[in-house]
Amino acid sequence: MVFEVRQIEDDDELYRRIPPNYFKANGTLSSSAYKLNGRPDREISANLAYLTTVEKTLENRPNFGVGSLIARDPRSIGLEVVHDPIFPNNEAHSLIKGTSENAQCAELAKKTKIIKEPT
């Protein structure tokens, strides 16, 4: 059995789990929130919001924060947003694909709305 792969609409919301160190003192996010090992993460994991909750997104990382992106935002800078469910653990899992420049990471960070601060 597998999960149905859904079409992500431009208005769909995505949750991104973010380590505490990437929250800046002025209440915004660092572009590092969208990097892997210091380089733009070519496949950024996120959760499709209507298939999950903030709590589930933080599973096993309760001290992390959560940011929200609207699918339109990564798409507006040339990135792909696809549903990529992981059976059986995470039906909401999705990917923002194609990030290759620090500028794209900075733009994603700018457009991310923080919905849960780290603890």
Partner: protein, 268 residues
């Protein structure tokens, strides 16, 4: 401040040059007259740009003697900031009176009044007054806080981001400290009033990122574990953000980017 001034800064590059030819034609041996005249000289950003574009000293010494350029840029940005910040002729008059009174006590008055020492002292004093007037402008980290945060990054363990991050490299921390200290020395209080260091962020590969924000631009300085410096300059306008990225930058490139960040207050 004084250490910078003790370097060989030729008088041809004095701030008074902004005022145009009339500045030198009307000089006298009376230092108070010169100070007064200097303050009453109309100051516009266009004059600064003209000065930057046409001054031979700036064109020829930016590589060999960067500290001179930074000192001069500091004057120029500082004065332009100052004059744009004053909201009325009254406040300008008060400022001039206050600074002139202060100078009489703080600076040995010499017949060669149009020196960098006097110019920088005037500028520092003026910024001090503005700081007192509007302390709330500052919203960035102080140098002390930034250095403390950098020291704290040494304690991050392996896998601090839970995705396999490396511990932060001592090289990156040392380079970041050097950039912060030297930038704050070079640009003085402008750093606090116009441009803020908003945070010091660890990078998962063991590097460090410094993030600066100006009035209409942002700057990310990424320092790799081996100390290489990458810059991401972001010009911000009402409807768009423009990104410029460069790798393997020198300390002078960093200064230039910060200077550009300060300039950004005139871009909108």
């Amino acid at each position: 401040m004084i250490n910078i001034l003790e370097q060989d800064v030729p008088t041809t590059a004095s701030v008074g040059s902004f005022g145009g030819a009339e500045s030198s034609n009307t000089r006298t041996d009376n230092p108070y007259f010169e100070k007064k005249f200097w303050f009453s000289t109309p100051f516009t950003w266009q004059r600064v740009l003209d000065y930057l574009n046409n001054n031979e000293f700036l064109q020829t010494t930016s590589v060999n003697a960067p500290s001179r350029l930074f000192l001069l840029e500091r004057y120029m940005f500082g004065w332009s900031l100052l004059f744009n910040d004053l909201d009325s002729k009254d406040s300008l008059s008060q400022l001039i009176a206050s600074i002139r009174g202060s100078l009489a006590e703080e600076i040995p008055v010499r017949k060669t009044a149009f020196t960098h020492e006097v110019a920088l002292a005037l500028y520092e004093r003026a910024l001090e007054i503005l700081n007192l007037r509007d302390v709330s402008k500052s919203r960035g980290l102080t140098q002390t806080t930034a250095l403390r945060k950098l020291d704290e990054l040494k304690n991050l363990p392996e896998d601090w981001d839970s995705y396999g991050a490396d511990p932060i490299s001592p090289n990156a921390i040392a380079k970041a400290k050097s950039i912060i200290i030297s930038a704050m020395l070079a640009f003085g209080r402008i750093i606090d009033n116009v441009v803020q260091l908003t945070d010091v962020i660890p990078i998962a590969d063991g590097g460090v990122q410094l993030e600066w924000v100006g009035p209409h631009a942002e700057l990310e300085i990424e320092i790799s574990p081996n100390g290489n410096v990458g810059l991401l300059y972001i010009s911000v306008s009402e409807d768009r953000r423009k990104y410029e990225e460069s790798k393997d930058n020198s300390l002078q490139d960093v200064y230039t980017a910060i200077a550009r960040l300060i300039h950004s207050q005139y871009s909108n």
